[in-house]
């Protein structure tokens, strides 16, 4: 069973072929990050236009990389939400039309549920040779075991989800205000750093630590120099990032010579991974999770 999956919820166009629910045969993503960097945020109409330009080439490449023809594809899935309406419309319309043209079943998928299930993807394994199609999927020892808690950070969403079994979700907590990524973007703006904020803050922090090491100053001192509020709300599993953001603003305003930044977006690229950002979220999530689940 091979499924063509299409994702177009924001500013990236993605297509992948997955076999038997787990084996990733190909995964192609067209990113627009360099286009949106110029505007300091995703411009919905620009994103929608890019989605339409990229979608068919991305699907064609995903099929090529998986060495699949239409005869090899058994179903089509596409993100139906949440996301930017104009962007979603492109992937969803293309997915439904492909299903109609090729007489295949179509499955609309929730973007956040897809994030959870990305944890079961087997990226570097080829599927075993089978006589007949397999109805259930291959289990691995390294698989996540139920019940489990998943921290989903995506777009406007920062959610802590209890997963009791396949498809059984319970929302434990969510952000009461900003999403984590949004908080990073806003703090980056307060500090006059680039967009997207996460990688920009990570790089700035690394640069600062590097400088301190060169000056033979203890790095730990800097790490505990400021007291910033935690992003979780006591007694709940909810997050709140606005307090952190406000505290950052006050801190910045209190600093000598601070000016509200008005940098013109100069097309500077923010490169780099999200590993630290993600591990930070994960730690936050773990702390919240520690507060007792069955």
């Amino acid at each position: 069973m091979r499924v063509l999956g299409i994702e177009s919820s924001c500013d990236e166009t993605g297509a992948a072929i997955v076999e038997d629910g787990r084996y990733l045969l190909s995964n192609v993503v067209a990113s627009q990050v360099e286009i949106h960097n110029r505007y300091g945020g995703v411009v919905p109409e620009v994103a929608s236009r890019q989605q339409l330009s990229s979608i068919i080439p991305v699907i064609e490449t995903a099929m090529e990389k998986a060495a699949c023809s239409w005869q090899d594809i058994d179903a089509i899935g596409a993100t139906y939400g949440p996301g930017l309406a104009g962007s979603l419309l492109v992937g969803l319309t293309v997915g439904k039309t492909l299903a109609l043209a090729r007489n295949l079943p179509f499955i609309g998928v929730n973007h956040l549920e897809a994030h959870i299930y990305a944890n079961w993807l087997l990226k570097d394994e080829s599927p075993p040779e089978r006589e007949t199609a397999s109805a259930s999927w291959d289990v691995r020892e390294s698989d996540p075991t139920f019940p489990l808690i998943c921290l989903v950070i995506s777009g406007a969403h920062s959610e802590l989800v209890l997963v009791r079994g396949h498809g059984q979700y319970e929302l434990l907590g969510r952000t009461r205000d900003d999403a984590a990524g949004e908080a990073f973007d806003k703090v980056a703006r307060i500090l006059g750093l680039d967009y997207p904020g996460g990688p920009a803050i990570q790089h700035a922090a690394q640069r600062a630590e590097e400088e301190m090491r060169q000056q033979k100053k203890p790095v730990e001192l800097a790490r505990s120099a400021y007291r910033l509020p935690r992003a979780w709300l006591r007694g709940t599993y909810d997050f709140s990032f606005s307090g952190l953001k406000t505290a950052m603003l006050h801190l910045a305003e209190g600093a000598a010579g601070y000016q509200h930044p008005t940098p013109a977006p100069d097309g500077k690229k923010s490169t780099g991974g999200e590993s630290k950002q993600q591990s930070q979220y994960t730690r936050m999530g773990m702390q919240a999770a520690q507060r007792g689940t069955p």
Binding site: C10, D11, V33, H36, Y39, G40, G41, V42, V43, P44, E45, V46, A47, S48, R49, L52, S53, I55, I56, P57, I59, E60, W70, L84, A85, G86, L89, V90, L92, T93, V94, K96, T97, L98, L100, A101, R102, N103, I153, S154, G155, A156, A179, G181, E182, D185, K186, R189, I190, Y195, P196, T246, L249, E253, H260, P261, T262, P263, A264, P265
Partner: protein, 282 residues
């Protein structure tokens, strides 16, 4: 040749299944903002009603706009997906061409118009040449006189009055022909055009000027015979209007001194929520 023609450029949509000889089925309906759902339902319905299968389609025609950005993208998404997966030729035709082609019997210049919002119009001008062959069959050759424009009614009117001489002969020698305006034209735009054209124009009834996908199919067949097909990987909509980009808010802190917020951003730009939503990446 079996041709499927799709047009969701505006709130008025149309879909047709045609051959060179006849219309097998055609819908023209008010789709509102439900382009994607209704287009796919109706494609399924028209194929079933005409006892055809998707695999029997020989070519796909699509209206490329201008019009509603999302509306245009729905038809383009569907048409690209059809042409790509059925491996059949694709032809894109401007929605302004379709509107004009429906008025081919008018003896004079035709100006097709769609409302572009913000008191502006999408427009293009055409002329038709009538001819008949030895068998007495009448045909019209459509010629596009102007570019595709985005203009206010006043500017469009003054452009047309300037151009009329260049297009239609020597000034003072004979009376200039009347322009026929057709398409989706609001009452306000009509009044404005009528005044600024100094009444040298007439307006087609909006119902008569509703786009029909069978006309799109005819234009597409002609272009297909001329070898003008499009690559489904590359065909782009005819947006004409650039996306409105409000960068101002991104350059300034969201918190603190409100006076740092610029007051210059357009009140007609995307809503605050849309911009905020748009700022979220993952």
């Amino acid at each position: 040749m079996l041709l499927l023609a799709l047009d969701t450029s505006t709130r008025q949509a149309s879909l047709a299944l045609c051959t060179e000889e006849e219309i097998l089925g055609e819908y023209a309906w008010h789709v509102g903002n439900n382009h994607s759902v209704e287009l796919l339902e109706r494609i399924q319905r028209i194929i079933a009603e005409c006892n055809k299968t998707m695999q029997e389609i020989d070519a796909v025609a699509v209206a490329t706009g201008p019009g509603s950005f999302n509306g245009v993208r729905v038809a383009l998404s569907a048409a690209k997906a059809l042409a790509f997966s059925l491996q059949k030729p694709l032809v894109g035709v401007s929605s302004l061409d379709i509107i004009a082609a429906q008025q081919q019997q008018w003896q004079g210049p035709v100006c097709s118009i769609l409302e572009a919002g913000r008191s502006e119009l999408y427009a293009a001008c055409y002329a038709f040449e009538k001819s008949s062959n030895s068998a007495g069959e009448l045909s019209y050759q459509m010629r596009q006189l102007s570019d595709f424009f985005l203009l206010s009614p006043q500017h469009l009117a003054s452009y047309l009055r300037e151009q009329a001489n260049t297009w239609f002969g020597i000034p003072g020698e004979r009376a200039l022909p009347s322009f026929l305006f057709c398409g989706e034209i609001s009452l306000a735009s009509r009044q404005m055009l009528f005044t600024h054209m100094q009444e040298k124009c007439v307006f087609a009834n909006n119902v008569q000027a509703t786009r029909h996908a069978s006309v799109l199919a005819l234009l597409a067949l002609q272009r297909l015979h001329e070898g003008k097909e499009h690559n489904p990987l590359l065909l782009e909509p005819l947006y004409i209007r650039r996306p409105s980009i409000t960068t101002s808010i991104r350059k300034h802190p969201l918190l603190g001194n409100k006076s740092h917020r610029p007051a210059d951003h357009s009140p007609e730009g995307p809503s605050q929520t849309e911009r905020e939503e748009g700022a979220l990446r993952h």
